[in-house]
């Protein structure tokens, strides 16, 4: 009886020591959670989630203050990725925060622009160039399509233009097996 | 896949020659059951029926199962086995290309576990049986389990050599005495050794046609030969020689027709070697130490489980990569 107890005790101590050692030895230096969430978010910085940017939203998710389905630009895939990361159930995008739209960039109708700089203030990624009383223009390659510049414009000269498919950004499509081969001449 | 069926034909002919036409009835029953259940399941799953039926995969499953069970088993046995193989082991997993286990072997294992008595009652080769059943007698027996008057069931059945070997060894009979029993032939068991040779011919045909590669059959048979050889060399009074193991039971059928099912098997050349060697080892162990006379079905099913792992660890070196 006593021997069995000693054995169990000894085993417990040994295994405990092994576990303790392993915990130190194989410690995973993972990214902090916020950075990992932030890496999934599309960095549109549009604020549709209700937070002033992607990082604040990531922080809110990490703190359990925000839900994972508040990011329309991230789309369904984004929610899936967040659900995976957070170990949560997937849920469809919350419609209150808007819908997923095709990627677009802002475009300034340069004849109408009065040079008020309001859009420059609004742009979260400094993708608008211009000076007071001078025409502004958008650096399309830096524009995230957040639409934050559209509302402040007093003369409504900013429109969102959907990015069109060109041979440059064209992607091979998922193969569909034709029911009947289409012959075109 | 029609070539696989063609490759089975010589074996079937020899089978019918040696054991009577009953096997043809079983094959017909199995084929009909397979086609009907497959069509039914495809309909239920809203898949096109015609292309899937005309690829013969269901018929191969049916034939392999029919060839694996005793030929004079009652008609419902093959029907139940085939239906289980097609419905549960194949279609419920997603149909052709998605089944993780060899459907025929699942059907076989289910029958063996559920109906062990019928499944181990093998008819003796016609030349050995005290009474020879005609084709019509066999037909009647399969469908109504009635034998002609004055014929007892023991008169038409006999133990299989693998079974006989196991039971006699337990009775402390010597190997030479056991092997001098009439059911033993030159290579394996009298009669079925010729069927095995016919299967071998079919297998070589498949290899020549590049339907299968050499890896699986060679590794499987090699593994059985090697391990049985080791045991035999250690104690030839207790263990049968490698040739006996190669030509008994389902060794040859398994090597060329069952293991080579691509869907549930590994895809890398090295993986095929591991898979078949493992299956050979398990087959032998079941034969010697297991409760069932033959172990090919269990070996294949067990190795099927390991396929993803085997494939993952045997990825070949890609061109321009260091291993």
């Amino acid at each position: 009886m006593l021997i069995a107890l000693y054995i169990m005790l000894g085993l417990a101590l040994l295994l405990g020591a092994v576990l303790g050692y392993a915990a130190l030895k194989f410690k995973v230096e993972g990214d902090p959670l916020i950075a990992r969430i932030d890496a999934i978010l599309p960095q549109t910085q549009c604020g549709q989630c209700g937070y002033p940017g992607c990082k604040p939203y990531a922080t809110a998710i990490a703190n359990g203050e925000a839900d994972i389905n508040q990011c329309p630009p991230g789309g369904d895939e984004g929610v899936h990725a967040l659900a995976d990361l957070m170990g949560m159930e997937y849920k469809p995008l919350n419609a209150e925060h808007g819908e997923t739209k095709p990627k677009a960039v802002a475009f300034i109708e340069e004849d109408l622009c009065i040079g008020c700089t309001l859009c420059i203030q609004a742009c979260p990624v400094d993708a608008i160039l211009g000076a007071a009383k001078h025409m502004h223009t958008i650096v399309a390659s830096e524009c995230t399509g957040c639409e934050l510049c559209v509302a402040p414009c007093p003369v409504d000269c900013i429109t969102m233009e959907t990015i069109e498919e060109t041979p440059d950004n064209w992607k091979w499509k998922y193969p569909t097996i034709p029911i009947k081969p289409v012959i075109n001449l | 896949m029609s070539k696989v069926l063609i490759a089975l034909v010589p074996g079937i002919i020899v089978y019918a020659w040696l054991f009577g036409g009953g096997i043809l009835i079983t094959l017909a029953l199995a084929t009909a059951t397979a086609l009907i259940t497959e069509a039914m399941m495809l309909k239920l799953r809203k898949r096109p029926v015609q292309p899937f039926l005309s690829d013969y995969s269901a018929i191969i499953t049916a034939w392999l199962l029919a060839l694996a069970i005793p030929p004079l088993a009652p008609w419902w046995l093959i029907v139940v086995g085939t239906a289980f193989a097609i419905i549960i082991a194949k279609q419920l997993y997603g149909g052709l290309g998605y089944n993780p286990f060899n459907p025929a072997m699942i059907g076989y294992a289910v029958l063996l576990i559920s109906f062990p008595v019928i499944m181990t009652k093998w008819p003796a080769a016609l030349s050995l049986a005290q009474t020879q059943l005609s084709f019509m007698d066999q037909f009647h027996y399969i469908f109504s389990s009635t034998l002609p008057m004055n014929v007892s069931i023991d008169a038409v059945t006999s133990a299989t050599p693998l079974d006989y070997l196991k039971t006699q060894l337990k009775l402390n009979q010597s190997m030479t005495t056991i092997q001098s029993a009439p059911i033993f032939g030159v290579l394996g068991s009298k009669g079925s050794e010729w069927i095995a040779l016919a299967y071998l011919a079919g297998g070589v045909f498949l290899w020549q046609q590049r339907i299968i590669t050499w890896h699986l059959p060679i590794a499987f048979l090699g593994s059985i030969a090697a391990i049985s050889g080791v045991f035999w060399l250690i104690d030839s009074t207790q263990f049968a020689n490698p040739l006996f193991h190669l030509f008994s039971g389902a060794s040859i059928l398994g090597a060329f027709f069952i293991l080579t099912d691509p869907i549930s098997g590994p895809t890398t050349p090295k993986g095929k070697l591991y898979f078949a060697a493992g299956a050979g080892l398990i087959t032998y162990l079941v034969r010697i130490y297991g409760g069932y006379p033959d172990g090919v079905a269990f070996a294949v099913i067990f190795m099927n489980i390991c396929v993803p792992l085997i494939d993952m660890y045997t990825q070949p070196r890609v061109f321009g990569h260091q291993k």
Binding site: Y51, L118, P154 | L96
Partner: protein, 669 residues
């Protein structure tokens, strides 16, 4: 699948060839188009030159509509490191610059320059070069103006291949394998231009300094082999016969075939001292250096379902219809045209596309020539694709991953080593379009990577912006402090710390009171504008106070060591904190008090925007009369910015509040 047996036999004849794994041997179909010599086309009425004819940046257009151009004149100039120039293939007038249909698998139009030809073929000035003696760097540099790209189909700008000499090139391999069925343009080139090709090889040898030169030709081109052997007698150039096994013409496969050396997957062959050039490219280089002729035309195999298959020397930009006409026209049952070979080519969107630098072969297809593939069956993991894969990939696994969008895993199984040769699809007994799946997965992965990169840039820019705003705030604070300091030194008497403390306490109290007030008032979301007004007032007040007297600013704080800047920053921070608290209080009131029927978020936003505009306007006007002793113009902008930032914060807060409210509404329901 009989290929391996064939090869074993062939290897005995050509012992210095090293086999690669897999490969297939489809019907060659090359005899049809080698019956006639390389033909010429009548001058087309117009030439359509896509700007995108090579890998890399789109070149810059150097002409305008209406310009008259001469044959060989530069009309678009290489832009950036990886790019190629485009020249007028003949003389004529630029009649259009704009979108036109191009030969691309997408079938989408792209930028093109259209030349209406004048039929005179009047040449621009040509500058042959003394390639035997001239400086090598100058020669390679001049290639930027040549427009020459790899003519085997990859269309990689040649000047880069010659110029990127990281490692010394010891071996030059001339790719004349031409392994794809139907294509015969290189075969015909070698038969007819073997001397010129050898000259070209000598030029390339001089440029890259290779000592070992091998021409690799598949053994199904005996005439070409004979011609090249004859042309290379008494030279150091070896002609190696490689077995006919698709895809032996792939550069890495060919290197392995002739040298027995695998180019590492993550390196270009140049990095291991081997350079591969296509025969047609070598010929183009010869013409450029010897005669000063830039890339204007190429030899194209026009074959398949046409009356008289033949190879033609075709000016770039020639419409496909003209080429088809020259080959006797397409037979009646022609269904479409394929550019490239049947294994790797793609269907052309129309017969009106121009011939480009990449077009080595055009096949007129018909249902009898290329049976439409039967519907694909499920993969049965037979691994025949793995046996056929020249890269030794596991196509069946890649197919699973690509099909289920498991891109990470596909990447892990070396999807990007796939050369899309189509050998797997060719042998697949289930007729699965495997390569299509790989192309899909590849382009998805590339798109995802691009999106990721864009997101990273956006994150960086956003963080930079926030940092900048913060810095500007601090600088502003510092400036104020400095100004206050100046004021103090002139007029302000010292004040005791006690007074300062009191002052601070008063300020805090005011702030608190204000916060209380606004939050009390806050009943509807409209109040958000109230906050801002209050904020504005507060800023003004604080500024006024601060300016009105260095008196008040005389803050020798609890921490005597801290300088004014720090203090200022702290004050700013305190203000910000107070504001935040206020806003939060406000927000909570909003969410509590607002009945469910209150205006929706859109209306809220609208209101906010209106408020913002108004605010901006008022601020601007306010700025016109700068508060107290802000004498220079800059503070105007600063004030405006400040207001804007605050507005943005307020907006964000309001949004948060709205969200909160919405949630509460929901929970209420």
């Amino acid at each position: 699948m009989n290929a391996p047996i064939n090869i074993a036999g062939l290897l005995k004849k050509t012992k210095d060839v090293f086999r690669f794994h897999g490969g297939v041997h489809p019907p060659e179909n090359k005899a049809q188009s080698t019956q006639l010599p390389i033909g010429k086309l009548p001058m087309p009425e117009k030439l359509v030159l896509p700007l995108r004819q090579h890998i890399g940046n789109i070149p810059k257009i150097k002409v305008a509509i209406g310009d008259h151009v001469l044959k060989g004149q530069l009309i678009a100039e290489a832009e950036g490191a990886v790019s190629a120039a485009i020249h007028a293939p003949t003389s004529g007038v630029i009649s259009a610059i704009g979108e036109a249909i191009i030969p691309h698998p997408s079938g989408l139009p792209d930028h093109c320059i259209t030349i209406t030809t004048d039929g005179k073929e009047s040449w621009a000035e040509r500058y042959p070069q003394d390639w035997r003696n001239a400086d090598i760097t100058t020669l390679i540099g001049s290639l930027r103006l040549s427009g020459i790209v790899g003519l085997g189909g990859a269309t990689f700008p040649t000047q880069i291949k010659l110029g990127s000499g990281k490692a010394a090139i010891h071996t030059l391999i001339i790719n004349a394998a031409e392994c794809e069925p139907y294509i015969t343009c290189d075969d015909m080139l070698m038969r007819e231009y073997h001397a010129e090709i050898v000259h070209g090889i000598t030029i390339v040898q001089r440029l890259i300094g290779a000592s070992n030169i091998i021409i690799g030709i598949e053994d199904n081109k005996p005439e070409a082999i004979k011609a090249m052997r004859a042309a290379t007698t008494n030279t150091a150039i070896q002609v190696k016969m490689v077995p006919t096994l698709y895809p032996s013409g792939d550069a890495r496969r060919l290197v392995h075939l002739v040298l027995g050396q695998e180019v590492p997957h993550d390196k270009r062959s140049t990095e291991v001292g081997i350079q591969v050039f296509n025969v047609a490219t070598v010929l183009a280089l010869y013409r450029y250096f010897e005669f000063g002729e830039p890339a204007l035309s190429r030899v194209v195999s026009m074959t398949g379902n046409v009356k008289q298959p033949q190879n033609f020397e075709v000016l770039f930009g020639t419409p496909l219809v003209d080429l088809v006409k020259a080959a006797g026209g397409a037979k009646a049952d022609t269904s479409n045209f394929i550019m490239g070979g049947p294994m790797m080519g793609f269907n052309l969107p129309s017969d009106n596309v121009p011939i480009t630098k990449a077009a080595n072969c055009i096949i007129a297809a018909s249902p009898t020539l290329f049976e439409p593939p039967p519907p694909a069956m499920p993969c049965i993991r037979c691994a025949r694709c793995a046996d056929a894969c020249p890269v030794n990939l596991q196509p069946q696994e890649l197919y699973w991953f690509a099909k289920s969008d498991n891109f990470e895993k596909a990447h892990e199984y070396n999807l990007f080593d796939c050369i899309e040769c189509g050998a797997c699809s060719y042998v697949c007994p289930s007729d699965i379009p495997l390569v299509q799946y790989y192309r899909y997965a590849k382009s998805e992965i590339i798109a995802l990577d691009k999106a990721k990169e864009a997101a990273d840039i956006a994150r960086e820019r956003n963080e930079f912006r926030l940092a900048r705003i913060e810095r500007e705030k601090q600088e502003r604070a510092a400036k104020h402090a400095a100004r206050a300091q100046g004021a103090k030194s002139t007029e302000a008497p010292n004040e005791s710390p006690a007074v300062t403390d009191k002052q601070a306490a008063i300020a805090a109290a005011i702030a608190r009171a204000k916060a209380q007030k606004t939050s009390d008032e806050a009943a509807a979301p409209k109040n958000i504008s109230n906050i801002s007004d209050a904020t504005k007032a507060e800023i003004a007040e604080i500024d006024a106070r601060r300016a009105a007297a260095g008196l008040t600013e005389q803050v020798t704080n609890r921490q005597p060591n801290v300088d004014d800047k720090d203090k200022q920053a702290k004050i700013a921070a305190a203000i910000a904190r107070a504001k935040a608290q206020k806003a939060e209080a406000n927000a909570s009131t909003v969410s509590k008090d607002v009945p469910a029927k209150q205006p929706v978020i859109d209306a809220e936003k609208q209101a906010k925007i209106d408020a913002a505009i108004e605010r901006a306007k008022t601020l601007k006007s306010a700025a016109a009369t700068p508060p107290t002793n802000d004498l220079n113009a800059k503070p105007v902008a600063d004030l405006e910015k400040q207001a804007k930032i605050e507005a943005a914060i307020a907006r964000a807060k309001a949004q948060k509040a709205a969200a909160l409210k919405a949630k509460e509404d929901q929970s209420k329901e």
